[in-house]
Symmetry: C2
Subunit: 322 residues, 2 copies
Amino acid sequence: MALSRQPDELIEQARQGSRTALARLLTMVERGGSESEAVASLSYLESPPYSVGLTGAPGAGKSTLTDRLITAARTGFPEIDGVAGLENDQVAVLAIDPSSPFTGGAILGDRIRMQEHATDPTIFIRSMATRGHLGGLSLAVPDAIRVLGAIGMPTVLVETVGVGQMEVEVASAADTTVVVMNPGWGDAMQANKAGLLEIADIFVINKADRPGVRETRRDLEQMLDLSNTDDWRPPIVETIAHDGTGLDEMWATIAQHRASLIARHELEARRARRLAEELRRVVAAQLADQVEKVAGGEAFNAQVEALVARRIDPYRAAKALI
Amino acid sequence: MALSRQPDELIEQARQGSRTALARLLTMVERGGSESEAVASLSYLESPPYSVGLTGAPGAGKSTLTDRLITAARTGFPEIDGVAGLENDQVAVLAIDPSSPFTGGAILGDRIRMQEHATDPTIFIRSMATRGHLGGLSLAVPDAIRVLGAIGMPTVLVETVGVGQMEVEVASAADTTVVVMNPGWGDAMQANKAGLLEIADIFVINKADRPGVRETRRDLEQMLDLSNTDDWRPPIVETIAHDGTGLDEMWATIAQHRASLIARHELEARRARRLAEELRRVVAAQLADQVEKVAGGEAFNAQVEALVARRIDPYRAAKALI
């Protein structure tokens, strides 16, 4: 079957298992524009997948951890305390690198480690950067997650590369957010400073075979004592990603968090709050786009001339344009 | 005379020499809002001062350099090749620290070194952060520069603390932009990576008594060879700020650049380009402000409800709101 260029046909082909169709859909989302909006509109109508975000400082071992987590995720979410489970017959990974405008470099290197899954048709791994999507990754990633849901992926793992503002935003827009750190004095403080404490549903101390696990755990517990954690106190899981230690516990903890969110009706509430935030961003992005279209136009140039001649000031000129 | 709260009266009082009135005007600009716009509108109608921006990596010695440069600046701009000079009977310094939401900390420490000028009524030094100005420092700083011009300051030195995106933006919005670096292998490359090569009108190698001056100069010259520098090739000046070496040459080079800009009619052209950019930012900031007002409103909440029910997607919802 020839690959379509129509979003609706591509979604159908991707549903039937075409990875090339899925890749093309995600490229459309990255690129933005009208095709991207058409894809977003179509996929929005389907229910979203369960999303798990992983973030943490570079070097914390997130790639290896994500790699290992795929295998655990394939076992699915079990039923917990009456909350229905979820079969993960397929698992998708989005690896986000906001610092690279074009996919390439380090993240592709990391992806090579994921090669063991490359031939497994139930696993889909994709690096993602922003290439023109209006509003950047903070809008492109939710769109991409919904595309993956619309074509039938029950669960999506979203891994970010660094801990910049954008990465924190992207990771915290998942249903369950996992913050990865390493043992050692000060790592917990750093995470706190980077705003990771507030967004964490689960903490993972990776490379737990190194010294300092107890100190990091103690620092975290102290910080959690000061936070409001009435409904869910973020558990701390120790892992050694390179040999797989703790990965089953990490997945079980993610499943616990999912069940807790659903039991407390907090999953829908969270998603509604995220949608309100997303709508705000889309409005801002569309307005910004209008500014770009206005700039360079005749009315804009006339105001610039008036500004240069000091007949008007920038605030009144802007009001006149709006 | 009691200090007014009216922008027009404050400007008059500041013109007559009241530093308290000037300080209050600049606080209004920092805070943003309608008072800030009133100040901006009034000061916009006067001709702007000549502005000199200094930027460079933290630790490059910008504070000490600025401190020394004040004394050199007081000698004024001489007439050069028929371009009229400018008497600097007063000199103002704006020290910009975008990383600190409230003025304080390191930059106040640096300001202590400027105490020798504290009792000199012809010199005005002010630290500035953004406290609420719509559009942040990239709009507040041009406003503040114009206030200083409107009350009679012929020349304003703008010093930034770091080399983040915002600092580079602020420093490059001056009439003459000076990039400060230190001797040593790689410093020039770092500056290039930070986008400083494109914005530099003049390079200063400060701490020139340390080894590596020749290498830094060579690196810079090589990079300049690859750039388009037909009209003005950024000169490289060596200084030792702490004993004043090279400061007269640095000021003379700034004066040369000013004369060259004016002779080439490039000063007005640059200012017009900056005004166009500023107008674009003001429009964007005012639109963003409107988004904030829309969000939380009834129409917005209705769209969020429709989003949650998946009756509409975020892009169509945003269009409906706009």
